[in-house]
């Protein structure tokens, strides 16, 4: 261990002891965008007010997202050295009760509690389940999300106290860049941004390039509606991403890293900026990291609203300050990428696995998941489901298992009919394929994709043609306009879907959409146009009857309103 890291670790341990076993109780409130939407801010205010009223003191911290969104707002209270008691669906009134019992009287009330993590060696509070025995937690293997919801994302020391930057220290003191690269190759890690390309192979393209300036670009332009795991990791544990990014820089002998985020997502942006600044201050970034010969610089770059900016070459255009339109390839990014320098683009989740891969070895990671898809999938399950949330599960579980055992199945009295996976360029999945494994290749075979890990659940109440219209309208709205088959094709398809939903279908509309989709596929430069027809294609596969009802039998209109119209934005790119 390097001396600078040893000192950092000592400080971190002191900080952690103060928080968990110091003079004051520690109250952690689950924050992030999800916690906020559930009311975490009001709950924090109520907690502070009640503590003041009871004339007590406590450390109240906004941590990131544990992922159990159905239980939000989520609060956990730990008396010094005591059990962690979790309270779910906390309202301002319940917050006051929690303070009254747990803080003022020092006795947690089991009937209010949701779960607990007993203090080491203790048996915990009778009648309250262990957090890790909850159906939503039991089967999780938390690698990238291991700290999410447990630590303050703004505190570098809390990350270090929980094993953070030990992998970087290990790499810098005892491994060559080639050894780090080999470890990632051996882990079988594949990119989590959607394309599932082997990360080690991608890195080796860059490692082989001798240019003195090389970039690793971390893509956090999470545009997929229904997926919030990139922002989730970033706002909950930005240092795991940053450590992964620095390790990627070391493995590929790069000089610079860029974290790329859309403006408007303030929490993840602030988390990333603070993490970068704190890492510089601690000697984990900049010249001679931890006293080694390795130097690395990282900056946070913002983009405007554009879904296509998440495409790797469009992303480079955006960082260069231009319209985020895809570039022609070749040259590939590893030859000439950002500012024409060799570059690699990795998704947030991909990089967030790397510290644990280096700490525990590639073979360990490969032992999780399936032979072809090592590790975990960080799934965001939303829509008509009992327990929506973000769950990090080993690859290989079936979708049905995940929906029923983890996410609690459909709301009472409903049946799950359709899933939308992999973002709006993914597709829909019908019940006949719910037994498919969560695995990149198994999912691809169905025609759907795992993509970034979003799974949106719809019951019998959902009309698939209307859902398809929503997805294609998104693809139309977000087309960058560079390739006309995509720009005009998506526009034309929305028109056709609109008239189908409004019960004004024309004979041959289905064939027309097929023709347009085919042109988009062959005539577009990037995935947006190439895959933009997927929602319709996959809907034909599972739900052809629903199209026939509208196109042939005119049994419409469908949609939210009696006339079959749908409200969509009118702003378009000129």
């Amino acid at each position: 261990m390097t001396a600078p890291f040893e000192q950092l670790k000592t400080r971190a341990q002191q900080r952690w002891n103060e928080l968990t076993a110091g003079a004051l109780p520690w109250i952690r409130v689950g924050g992030g965008v999800s916690g906020e939407a559930a009311g975490a801010h009001e709950v924090t205010l109520a907690l502070n007010k009640a503590i003041e009223k009871a004339n007590r003191r406590a450390n109240v911290t906004r941590v990131g997202m544990l992922g159990l969104c159905y239980a939000e707002p989520l609060v956990d209270v730990q008396l010094p050295g005591g059990d962690r008691i979790f309270y779910a669906n906390v309202t301002p009134e319940k917050a006051a009760e929690i303070v009254q019992t747990h803080i003022a009287h020092g006795v947690p009330e089991a009937s209010l509690a949701f779960a607990q993590v007993p203090a080491p060696g203790g048996s915990g509070l009778a009648g309250v389940p262990d957090l890790n025995d909850l159906p939503t937690m039991k089967r999780q293997v938390r690698i990238a999300t291991r700290n999410s919801g447990h630590i303050d994302p703004r505190d570098l020391l809390q990350y270090v106290a929980n094993g953070g930057y030990a992998a970087l220290d290990k790499a810098l003191t005892g491994m060559t860049p080639a050894q780090v690269l080999d470890e990632v190759k051996n882990s079988g890690l594949r990119g989590r941004g959607g394309a599932a390309f082997p990360t080690g192979t991608k890195w080796s393209f860059l490692a082989g390039n001798k240019s003195p300036v090389k970039y690793i670009l971390c893509n956090c332009e999470e545009g997929d509606p229904g997926a919030f795991n990139d922002k989730g990791v970033l706002e909950s544990d930005p240092h795991t991403l940053l450590e992964g990014l620095i390790l990627a820089g070391y493995a590929t002998t790069s000089s610079n890293g860029v974290i790329f985020i859309r403006q408007g997502h303030e929490e993840p942006i602030e988390a990333a900026r603070k993490a970068v600044q704190d890492a510089y201050d601690a000697g984990l970034l900049g010249k001679n990291i931890l006293g080694s010969n390795f130097s690395y610089d990282v900056e946070v770059a913002l983009t405007g609203d554009s879904y296509v900016a998440g495409e790797e070459t469009a992303l480079m255009e955006a960082i260069e300050g231009k319209r985020s339109m895809p570039r022609y390839r070749p040259p590939f990014p590893a030859q000439a990428g950002l500012w024409q320098k060799p570059s690699n683009i990795n998704n947030v989740k991909t990089l967030s696995y790397v510290p644990q891969i280096i700490a525990n070895g590639g073979a360990w990671f490969k032992g999780v998941g399936t032979p072809g898809s090592a590790g975990t999938a960080i799934l965001c399950i939303t829509g008509e489901i009992q327990r929506p949330g973000m769950y990090e599960l080993p690859m290989g579980m079936t979708i049905r298992e995940v929906l029923n055992q983890i996410a609690g199945g459909p709301p009472a009295g409903k049946r799950i009919k359709v899933l939308q996976t992999g973002g709006p360029l993914g597709g829909v999945l019908g019940e006949s394929d719910f037994d498919v494994q969560i695995d990149f290749d198994a999912m691809s075979k169905t025609g759907a994709i795992l993509g970034s890990g979003g799974i949106i659940v719809g019951s019998d109440d959902v009309n698939v043609v209307d859902l398809t219209r929503n997805l294609v309208a998104f693809n139309q709205f977000e087309s960058c306009g560079k390739c006309f088959p995509c720009r005009l094709g998506t526009t034309h398809m929305v028109e056709v879907l609109d008239r189908i939903c409004q019960n004004k279908a024309r004979a041959g509309d289905r064939e027309l959409m097929e023709r347009i989709g085919q042109s988009m596929k062959v005539g577009s430069l990037c995935g947006h146009g190439q895959l933009g027809y997927n929602p319709i294609l996959s809907a034909f596969k599972y739900f052809a009857a629903e199209f026939d009802e509208l196109v042939k039998d005119h049994k419409g209109p469908v949609g939210a309103f009696a006339d079959g119209t749908m409200i969509v934005p009118t702003r378009t790119r000129p």
């Binding site: 559930a38 919030f228 879904y307 300050g321 985020s324 829509g383 959902v462 939210a560 309103f561």
Partner: protein, 169 residues
């Protein structure tokens, strides 16, 4: 629009834009980063900001700056209303009734599309994904998210905002 007369307010706005452009702290400063900084500070991109950005970024023309400004859908070229109401229309929210929320908010604001109310109190925007999909349907008022919304609760939130001053005042 540009008229022949330069007022004190014009000069002040121009100065404020120049200060904003110069005060960017990050290493890489581009046309896009400059426009984002201006919109963050002034809440929209005034016409003079296009001109100033073109001056500020070496080698950039007014055309270049317009091309970027017109591409990203978050940029706006007129001042927004005092409060911004964003309603998510992403698929998670769509399945959970976002269209009814949209219609209710439209009718509360007296709008039939995105834009500003005639009294300048509100801007309505449809958002492709507000990122809190587990709590769908979601709206955000002045960038504060509210989840598990119904048409009625959305209208209630809008009414509450109406009685508050614009954020930052």
């Amino acid at each position: 629009m540009t008229s022949g007369v330069t007022t004190a307010a014009d000069t002040e706005l121009r100065e404020r834009i120049r200060r904003t452009l110069r005060s960017q702290k990050q290493r890489t400063i581009t046309v896009l980063s400059s426009l984002l900084a201006v919109q963050h500070e002034i809440k929209y991109v005034p016409e003079v900001a296009i001109e100033e950005t073109a001056h500020f970024i070496k080698g950039a023309t007014i055309n270049d700056v317009w091309s970027v400004a017109s591409f990203y859908t978050n940029f706006r070229f007129t001042p927004p209303g005092d409060h911004t109401v964003e309603v998510c229309w992403g698929p998670s929210c769509h399945i959970k009734g976002a269209q009814h929320v949209l219609r209710a908010v439209q009718s509360e604001l007296g709008l039939d599309r995105e834009g500003e109310t005639s009294d300048g109190k509100f801007t309505l925007r449809y958002n492709t994904c507000l990122g809190a999909c587990a709590h769908a349907p979601v709206i955000a008022i002045d960038h504060v998210h509210h989840g598990r919304i119904t048409p009625d609760s959305a209208v209630r939130h809008v009414k509450q905002a109406r009685s508050k001053p614009a954020p930052g005042h």
